[in-house]
């Protein structure tokens, strides 16, 4: 379609060009090679569009995977861990990473530029969480405590564990779901929520709750352990 348009435009242009010979004098100045060079600040966004947007959404939001245009998320994870994830992907998860050994073969400098670009564009005024983001730093969880926390804060949308009736937002105790998501994935989902999908983070507000409350680092670990235990019970 655009080629056809170009051809028509070309025909029209012939007349214009013939009438205006002076314009032709400038032809040599519009070297087509000049337009190829992309300006550097856009490089990170081009890399994002080519390699990340499929899962994380066109502009860092509204993707199937985690929203990246989330200042608090970026601030909490921090530059170093972001560089690590961008390079190597998510162990046990779907993200293959963009580092030298993975899909995009970015070198470390490109990764750093990308992460800095992301922090610049999406991380303005982000506030790091007061509780640990990484499961490595999180306290060990307790399944029965987790069950109580789940019933109080999660169940109203995600349904009781093992329920056969469809819940409003879909089960998080589906064994297949739990096999596809890592503990870190669960913890991040609870901590940061899915704002674009309407799911609140750790600080709530949780729907259908009389008392506004926040989850503690311990409670999040408990819920994660509890969710895992539901899968093993079913098996």
């Amino acid at each position: 379609m655009s080629a056809a348009f170009k051809n028509i435009a070309a025909l029209v242009g012939v007349i214009v060009a013939a009438a205006c010979l002076q314009a032709c004098g400038k032809i040599s100045a519009t070297d087509p090679a000049d337009t190829v060079v992309a300006s550097l600040p856009q490089a990170a966004m081009t890399n994002y569009a080519e390699n990340c947007s499929a899962c994380h959404g066109a502009n860092g939001v509204n993707g199937a995977a985690r929203q990246l245009a989330d200042a608090n998320y970026l601030a909490s994870v921090g530059r170093e861990a972001l560089i690590n994830i961008t390079t190597n992907g998510v162990p046990g998860g779907f993200c293959p990473g963009s580092g030298p050994a993975s899909l995009a073969h970015w070198n470390p400098k490109q990764v750093a530029e990308f992460v800095d670009g992301m922090l610049d564009a999406w991380g303005k005024n982000g506030v790091a969480l007061s509780i640990p983001w990484s499961v490595k730093l999180a306290p060990a969880g307790n399944a029965s405590n987790g069950q109580a926390v789940y019933a109080a804060t999660c169940q109203s949308c995600h349904g009781a564990p093992g329920a056969t009736v469809a819940s409003a937002s879909g089960s998080v105790t589906d064994p297949n779901y739990l096999r596809l998501i890592t503990d870190q994935g669960l913890r991040s989902a609870i901590l940061f929520g899915r704002p674009e999908r309407g799911m609140p983070g750790w600080s709530g507000p949780f729907p259908h709750q009389a008392v506004d409350r926040k989850l503690s680092s311990q409670e999040i670990s408990d819920v994660v352990v509890f969710l895992r235990s539901t899968a093993s019970q079913k098996q």
Binding site: A10, S53, A64, D174, R179
Partner: protein
């Protein structure tokens, strides 16, 4: 003063003529009589010649800067594009004028075929013309190699793979074509020799023969129904008619040629300026496997045919079809050299032409779309349409990730974006039941690879759960055996839930 100059010029001309006889030689050529009705239909041959002349001129100039070495060709092209004044414009002219030349040759040939101008006594003109067509196409193919980019490198690979299929001698022929056991410097050098010495020389010679035959046999008249070619009487009748009603080539026919050629030249010049040079695209380094090779327009139909032909007959067709086509084209005037010329009296020929033109046009268009090719970066660059994520369960969201992660979209589109090789998945939940989807994913079939070994059962369940949510608005949820595993009915509750949560 003016008189003096005029006398001097006249004297000079007279002297030149008396020593060379050039005017005596050229005048009968310029004023040879052509049919009165030889109007706009007859300009395309001249236009082909004009574009060939442009090719010779721009080609010689490009050869003054181009380095036909595999190590330096690419950078020399970049140098011509970026550093040499008017270099990019010259390359653009060479490229677009070559496209125009092919177009003119094809139109010219169509006209000759449809008007049956190849019949007695012009059989040989047609045959020389067919050879000129092959020369033109060979020049286009070898010219594409001169760009020495990824298209050129892998285009040679395709050519080598075709030659390789010749029984017994295939490997030897391939080595002769490539100048060795692989594509390298020797390959570029020999295609350069073909492109700048052998083929242009051959073409110039054949053009000379073509023109000599025009002078010998005369230009054919516009066909009239009922005006039958009979070899016994045709020549005398033609000469009689031409003597009576013919006009001098110069200026009666030449003026139209000039108007048309001038117009075409302006258009091509503008196209060259507007669209710029063609290529070079990626560096021809065989270790860069992200290449997406495509031939130039003139060869896209072959590219398509190779994708769509059933594999069982491919080798046979590749080896048998070209000689048949060549023999048919060359032998055409021998098969049919007398009788009616008017298209209205030759319905068979018109049908053959229309079918051929439609087939070539369709194949070329299909080649532009290349629906059979996976879109290699679709899985990382095309976001899942947001409307397919709204209100999905956590498992279905994971399924959406599996769709991206397992490169499904390289062949299947979602929301109009992605590969066209497989069916689009926008409405797959209405077309197939849960069990059918599981079977299709695990076992493949219908030209889809089996994913059974590559997806875990959880991944398969997730991706099928996601796909069953992809239904036209209002389409009923098909009776899905095994729907117990599904968590929610996405078209109903969820959107309300999102609002709920926000409160």
């Amino acid at each position: 003063m003016f008189r003096t100059i005029k006398n001097m010029v006249g004297g000079l001309l007279g002297w030149t003529e008396s020593r060379s006889g050039v005017i005596t030689f050229v005048q009968p050529i310029l004023t040879h009589r052509v049919p009165r009705d030889a109007k706009w239909w007859y300009v395309f041959g001249s236009a082909s010649l004009m574009f060939f002349s442009i090719q010779v001129i721009t080609g010689i100039l490009l050869a003054t800067m181009y380095v036909p070495s595999a190590a330096e060709a690419y950078s020399s092209l970049q140098y011509i594009d970026q550093q040499v004044p008017f270099g990019w414009m010259l390359r653009a002219l060479h490229a677009w004028s070559s496209n125009a030349m092919i177009l003119m040759v094809v139109i010219h040939m169509s006209q000759v075929f449809l008007h049956a101008s190849f019949k007695f006594p012009r059989e040989l003109m047609w045959m020389v013309g067919v050879l000129l067509l092959f020369c033109t196409l060979a020049l286009a193919f070898t010219g594409q190699i001169m760009r020495w980019d990824q298209d050129a490198y892998w285009g040679l690979g395709i050519g080598a793979a075709i030659v390789d299929r010749v029984p017994m001698l295939g490997n030897q022929m391939r080595n002769v074509m490539l100048g060795g056991p692989y594509i390298g410097g020797a390959t570029l050098s020999r295609f350069f020799a073909l492109h700048v010495f052998v083929l242009p020389g051959l073409t110039i010679g054949l053009i000379g023969a073509h023109m000599a035959l025009i002078l010998k046999n005369g230009i054919s008249e516009m066909p009239k129904p009922g005006m039958v070619v009979d070899p016994k009487t045709y020549v005398a009748e033609y000469e009689e008619r031409i003597k009576k009603t013919g006009v001098a080539f110069m200026p009666d026919a030449a003026q139209r040629d000039m108007v048309f050629c001038g117009l075409m030249l302006i258009i091509v010049g503008f196209l060259a300026w507007y669209l710029g040079p063609v290529g070079p695209n990626g560096i021809p380094n065989p270790t860069i496997i992200d290449a997406n090779p495509r031939p130039d327009y003139a060869f896209l139909w072959i590219f398509t045919a190779m994708a769509l032909m059933p594999p069982q007959i491919e080798t046979a067709v590749l080896l048998i079809a070209p000689p048949i086509v060549v023999l048919f084209l060359l032998g055409l005037p021998l098969i049919s050299n007398r009788g009616e010329r008017a298209p209205s009296r030759r319905p068979g020929a018109v049908v053959v032409y229309v079918l051929t033109a439609t087939a070539l046009g369709t194949l070329t268009w299909l080649g532009v779309v290349s629906a059979w090719s996976p879109v290699m970066d679709a899985w990382t660059s095309l976001p899942t349409p947001v409307k397919y994520l709204v209100g999905r369960t956590p498992l279905e969201m994971q399924g959406a990730l599996v769709i991206q992660h397992s490169q499904c979209r390289n062949c299947h589109s979602l929301g109009g974006e992605g590969g066209l090789r497989g069916p689009n998945l926008d409405n797959v939940g209405s077309r197939k039941s849960w069990d059918q989807l599981v079977r299709q994913v695990q076992q493949g079939g219908g030209n889809m690879p089996a994913y059974g070994k590559n997806l875990s059962s959880a991944e398969t369940t997730a991706v099928v759960a996601f796909m069953t949510t992809l239904r036209n608005a209002g389409a009923p949820e098909s009776t899905i055996p095994g729907a117990m595993e599904r968590q929610s009915s996405p078209d109903q509750a969820p959107k309300a839930v999102v609002g709920d949560v926000g409160q």
